[in-house]
């Protein structure tokens, strides 16, 4: 059970006004609002929590693939450094967040995932974000499995969760892809 989410902080600052009246009440739990108010960097904390919720939601969709929109149902706690937890529907997902001034990136897993692979990268200006992420992901898997990338296809299962599969062998792995603004990322279940 894996999920990931990348946020282009510059774009987030333009696209969303987290200080809009009502926004925080809809999105954050009481505990999360305390974290934001106590933070030296409320903007960074807001988006860190958001990417935790989003990656946790994506991972949860693999357990219970019924879509919903209620960011408050993903309750986050921050453990220190980049680690944290997201609780949803009785599950506790472990998250790791990395960030710099430009972007924030979180991965979420349920329990111990063997050899999680992946990367977070800048998308070249002229490239289509989704196509570029798929290319990078297929390249990575092709090298890892020593097969041609033409053999690999990325598709969603009937439950809407993405996988990468090889046409000629039975290799198939759960994946999670995210892109926002200038940045893209993917993870592959080991």
């Amino acid at each position: 059970m894996i999920g990931n989410d990348v946020i282009d902080l510059q774009l987030a600052a333009i696209q969303s006004n987290w200080q809009r009246p009502g926004f925080r009440e809809k999105v954050f739990t009481e505990g999360e609002n305390i974290l934001i108010d106590g933070s030296d960097d409320p903007f960074g904390t807001v988006w860190r929590l958001w990417s935790m919720k989003e990656s946790g939601y994506k991972a949860y969709m693999r357990v219970n693939p019924k879509r919903f929109f209620d960011p408050k149902r993903m309750a986050c706690s921050i453990a220190g450094n980049g680690s944290g937890h997201v609780q949803i529907g009785g599950y506790s997902f472990q998250t790791e967040t990395t960030c710099d001034e430009e972007r924030l990136y979180t991965t979420a897993v349920l329990g111990k995932e063997p050899e999680l692979m992946g990367e977070c990268f800048t998308i070249p200006v002229m490239e289509d974000a989704s196509t570029y992420c798929h290319q990078r992901l297929r390249q990575h898997c092709a090298e890892h499995w020593s097969i041609l990338k033409e053999q690999l296809r990325i598709e969603k299962t009937d439950k809407g969760v993405p996988r990468i599969s090889c046409r000629s062998t039975d290799k198939s792995r759960a994946i999670s892809i995210s892109h926002h603004g200038r940045f893209g990322a993917y993870i592959i279940q080991g």
Binding site: F23, K26, V27, E54, F68, F69, D70
Partner: protein, 85 residues
């Protein structure tokens, strides 16, 4: 308020947040805010806050939960408007 009036108001609300112009032009009850209009999830919060303002209703977290499509939005708005009368 008729369904058509609700849809017309919804179109004005979602317009600033859509990232797929074609899907917006072809908007029907079946249109999905995320899959079709490509509204990012943080902006869905804005859509919800705008719906509250424009229709003068309150959407608690339970009622916003299913608000992922035009159809679901109409159902919630109709229910909330009926409860006001």
């Amino acid at each position: 308020m008729t369904k058509e009036e609700i849809i017309a108001k919804l179109k004005v609300i979602v317009k600033p947040y859509i990232q797929d112009e074609k899907a917006f032009e072809d908007l029907t009850e079946e249109t999905d805010f995320v899959k079709d209009l490509k509204i990012n999830s943080a902006n869905l919060v804005d859509v919800i806050l705008d719906v509250e303002d424009q229709f003068d209703i309150i959407l608690d977290n339970d009622s916003m939960e299913e608000l992922l499509s035009v159809k679901a939005a109409i159902a919630v708005i109709e229910r909330k408007l009926a409860a006001k009368e």
